[in-house]
């Protein structure tokens, strides 16, 4: 398996900036993106030097194109797990595994608050990946908790397998949902087990199911990398932007205010330089 020097989780301002500088240092870089971040949602930005009055979407497009041109590999997949292994990390995206010597967390400001019961029941009927686990629920009852428009495509895949009930956690466009899917406008509150069944508790009642898919544009940090230390909800880093897990760095909005592209590109740059220096020390 190919081992990257650096895998970047998140391809916004911090991720792309880190990727460019890492390529200058000749590192092998793989960068993952998935849902829309804060930049994609910005109608117009006026204070990024070099790109006057730019729409957020266009900025993301240009940044990623530049990264790709510089030799960065980009993949659209949701990373659900970062596993420290000897001398490096294994990253899980669906059923695919990727390996890297270092990891940069650049996922943006998105906060994911798991439902009570969600993390405890993961792998016991609760899943984050329709492609991975959908087949287990062929012909059965499936609940989808949808945290964004990314859920629509996966829900449609699940609708080919079983009978899908769709709960909306965060408002998003559901126009393209398959006709066979039932949309329930209740607010998910908790997940619990009852014999062989799972129960989704909402603000208005309870719903039994065989399988429950939580499909959000990101997974909670507590889930992705439980070892990670945070302070007041923000990842703790040292001066080099390294977290308490050696080899795992963080940059951008994930590190808190100001939530600005300029600050994020600066931190991405600093993190990449620190990562290059960290890798040099590992070799010697």
């Amino acid at each position: 398996m190919k081992v990257y020097d650096l895998i970047i989780v998140g391809a916004g301002a911090a991720g792309c900036s880190a990727a460019l500088t890492a390529r200058q240092r000749n590192l092998r870089v793989l960068m993952f993106y998935f849902g829309d971040g804060a930049m994609e949602k910005a109608h117009r930005m006026d204070n990024y030097p070099g790109m006057p009055q730019v729409e957020g979407k266009e900025m993301v497009r240009v940044f990623r194109l530049q990264a790709a041109d510089a030799g960065v590999e980009l993949k659209k997949q949701l990373i659900t797990k970062v596993l420290p292994v000897n001398d490096g990390f294994s990253l899980l995206a669906g059923n695919d595994l990727y390996e890297a010597k270092t990891v940069l967390l650049a996922l943006g400001a998105l906060r994911v608050n798991p439902l009570p019961g969600e993390e405890e029941l993961l792998g016991q009927g609760v899943s984050y990946c329709a492609t991975c686990d959908g087949m287990f629920y062929r012909g059965k009852r499936i609940i989808v908790i949808a945290g964004g428009r990314e859920a629509v495509e996966e829900a449609n895949y699940l609708a080919d397998l079983g009978q899908v009930t769709y709960f909306i956690e965060k408002p998003h466009d559901t126009q393209e949902l398959a006709a066979s899917i039932t949309v329930v406008k209740e607010k998910p509150k908790q997940i619990r087990q009852s014999g062989q069944d799972l129960i989704l508790v909402t603000d208005q009642g309870e719903h039994e199911t065989d399988g429950l898919f939580v499909l959000r544009p990101a997974v909670a940090m507590t889930q992705m990398l439980p070892e990670l230390e945070t302070r007041k909800g923000v990842i703790s880093t040292d001066h080099d932007l390294m977290t308490n897990v050696p080899g795992v760095f963080a940059a951008g909005d994930i590190l808190g205010a100001p939530l600005q592209v300029t600050k994020a590109v600066g931190e991405g740059n600093r993190a990449a330089l620190a990562i290059a220096s960290y890798l040099r020390k590992q070799v010697s």
Copy 2:
């Protein structure tokens, strides 16, 4: 006299980024530039997101144009003094005085090391400004210590007044020097007084003069703002990038490594937000 909310000394990456964000916060901003900074000298930069493979000069041009479009006033003058006055600052450029409530130092990595005797004899025959003090040496002997190509034009002005001897402190293009100017290839070491005369001591001898102009692209921080605290040669700032002088902030290469455009724009942004917050508190 017009009082600016913010005067930025230096119009590179940090200065332009700060200027753009300050304009978003509706501050009245004046930004000074003078000599070439590190960006102007960069042949090509590959790791600034949004401007692939850009020449430094072009980047500076685009940044400043964007700042001007956003309503920032730009002036090409060398700021020689920042004077704290009640509730704000007076800044001296040649014989012109500018006033601001806050100051951002964004002069880049350029280090100016005054010659022994230079600062002590400033105003007693030593001057940093040909336009201001040239007339005092009409028909007299004038020595110019030239720290960059900015000195050429001022030396030519002085050559119309007196007899100029030109010493090169830092290598630069001297092709356009007036024919009447004598260029001496000795290394300036010290300035001292001898009766009515000044003596320039070089690595090869001594040169008497009536007036001595030190013309560099920047002045030493110890000269510009003696109150400023530094640690290991780097300006000390708090988390908001404010120096020990309340109302004076710093950002970019002047704060040390990494000397990168991305880091500088991030710091410029942070400083501007801190300045806006500082000004709000002053009002209330």
